[in-house]
């Protein structure tokens, strides 16, 4: 097992990883920018290294600074968390060449699965259903038009290197292809340094369902059930739950098998997520593999009883997955709300000092956060300030628990998305489990 892990992240996920390391008896090194000097991830780690100024690209994204920090502290592994460098194949490669274990998949895994078109190709070859669309990159708006005619409108054009809702656009009519194509190309180049695009059928009213995968280096693969992430705004997930509300057992079984098939086809190791869209007729289509721990991993932990971060670390250390007492089960229902420091109507990030705070608690309530009263939410980083996760006997109990926990969750001094969540948990369609990826857009209009 590792002696000392450097955590190349901040906020709640850094704290989450510190907690897992502590339980495993592993020392922790946190890294921080100058403004994060007094943050919880710094306070609660065994050592800490300042790696740069506030701006992410000069600190948390600064590969040499992070590798150096690992070297001067003698860390033998790096956990990247999510975001920042977690899906950067170059970083994984450098870690490897510096003989520091990158806790995640291989750089090859990240590189191939990070290319959406390439990933789709692999899955198609492995017999995993994919959304009809181009296998190759689009070379021109003309090819896009030709493909769109074959597939049928609406279609969606995406950047090969996009993700998290960025670098994609829905096209309803042929006459709009030209303009969207070129603007998307520019946007993709500016955001990801690559302008490659591809096209797909756009599914209407789909559910976004992902499967949590664990794969060890010995080739053992299991899935720990699905997560319904359909409650999203501009492709940013806001609420996740497991099990999915309206998914038949037979479809769940088929999709779980496809997820394992996908993992095998990609020769993947570590914790990962296979994402699907499910249409109203029970058709399901592979979208992508997320090669990192997900923000929403806690709901799977509560339902299965598995600590995913610990499992991820153990797999990286060469352990067989779920060795020892780590049996899993599927028990009850779990839901997560992402509490963002954002205006609850327009979702504009908002920074500032938290002047009053009441965190919810009690049975079946878990809060993953690195905020406290008097903490200042900084404008440099992600707006996620807390994850509120509940676990109940069934979906109804989980919803009531979340409703109460949201009621108790009080933050003053900054705007948060709590009022948005409170409304969702009183919405009839949500309560009935009748929702698709368009839920938030139509919900916000009313």
């Amino acid at each position: 097992m590792f002696q000392k892990i450097l955590i190349a992240n901040r906020g709640e996920i850094a704290l989450r990883i510190i907690r897992a390391c502590r339980e495993l008896g592993i020392k922790t090194v946190s890294v921080h920018s100058t403004v994060d000097e007094n943050s919880p991830h710094v306070r609660f780690s065994d050592e800490s290294v300042c790696i740069g100024p506030p701006e992410s690209h000069l600190s948390y994204l600064q590969i040499p600074a992070i590798i150096s920090a690992a070297e001067i502290t003698g860390a033998d592994a790096i956990h990247p968390g999510y975001g920042f460098l977690s899906e950067n194949p170059h970083f994984a490669e450098i870690c490897h060449s510096c003989k520091i274990k990158f806790i995640g998949p291989t750089s090859e895994n990240i590189r191939i699965l990070g290319n959406k078109a390439k990933a789709k190709e692999i899955m198609k070859a492995a017999g995993v259903p994919v959304i009809p669309g181009t296998e190759d990159q689009l070379d021109s708006p003309e090819t896009a038009k030709k493909m769109a005619r074959e597939i049928g409108y609406p279609v969606i054009i995406k950047s090969c290197f996009g993700g998290g809702g960025r670098g994609m656009r829905i096209v309803e009519k042929e006459e709009k292809i030209e303009a969207i194509f070129s603007s998307l190309q520019k946007e993709a180049f500016n955001s990801f340094g690559e302008s490659n695009l591809y096209i797909e059928k756009y599914l209407q009213k789909p559910k976004h369902i992902e499967f949590q995968i664990l794969a060890d280096t010995e080739g053992n693969i299991i899935h720990l059930g699905e997560r319904d992430c359909s409650i999203q705004r501009r492709h940013q997930k806001l609420i996740e739950e497991t099990p999915a509300a309206q998914l038949s057992d037979s479809l769940r079984k088929k999709m779980g098998e496809a997820a394992i098939q996908a993992t095998k086809a990609a020769n993947y190791t570590s914790a990962g997520t296979v994402e699907f869209l499910v249409d109203s007729k029970g058709g399901f289509y592979f979208i992508e593999v997320n090669t990192r721990i997900q923000v929403e991993h806690p709901i799977t932990e509560l339902v299965t009883g598995i600590d995913l971060i610990k499992e991820q670390i153990k797999i990286a250390a060469g352990h067989k997955l779920l060795s020892g007492k780590d049996n899993f089960r599927f028990e009850g229902h779990s839901i997560e709300c992402r509490i963002n420091a954002e205006d609850p109507k327009k979702f504009i990030p908002c920074s500032g000092k938290i002047t009053a705070l009441n965190l919810p608690g009690g049975p079946g309530v878990r809060v993953d956060t690195a905020i406290y009263c008097d903490y200042t939410v900084l404008p440099y980083y992600d707006s996620l300030i807390a994850k509120l996760i509940v676990h109940g006997k069934d979906r109804e109990e989980a919803i009531r628990k979340m409703d109460q926990a949201l009621h108790e969750f009080q933050v003053e001094g900054i705007k948060t998305t709590i009022p948005f969540h409170r409304k969702v948990f009183k919405n009839k369609n949500f309560i009935k489990g009748e929702f698709h990826t368009d839920f938030v857009d139509s919900f916000l209009q009313h």
């Binding site: 100058t34 290294v49 600074a65 590798i67 150096s68 510096c98």
Partner: protein
Amino acid sequence: MNFKEIKKLISIFEDSKILSELEVEESGFKVRLKKSAHETEVIQTTPSAQPSSSKPSHTAVGKTEEAHEAGMEGLIKFESPIVGTFYHAPGTNKKPFVKEGEIVQKGQILCIIEAMKIMNEVEVDIKGRIIRVYVEDGTPVEFGQPLFLIEPL
């Protein structure tokens, strides 16, 4: 009272709607804060006023920060621009790049910081006298850690 504490004191003083003056004196060391009548000018600064024209800009590789401790007026702290291991000399048994008391020219190499097996030469961006070397040869340094105390000339 160290620099951090003075910084905090200033911020408390600034935030206070009530305080108009604040003075702390301790064994030959003194901080006096006073708010201007209009409240636009925030701090009337520490004891002997210091020519702000002498404040250097940031160096290419290094970073300098005005020293605020007592008896250090007009001095500059040269901070580490990167994380790594500090080397005071180009190699073992070699002469150090600079010694305390020595005058350095703008662009002169002060030290090497090793990061990811690469030896990064760190240049100074002002002319000045090395008053103190804060870090011992071979020790790890983090971003922003003071390496040298320099008197600008």
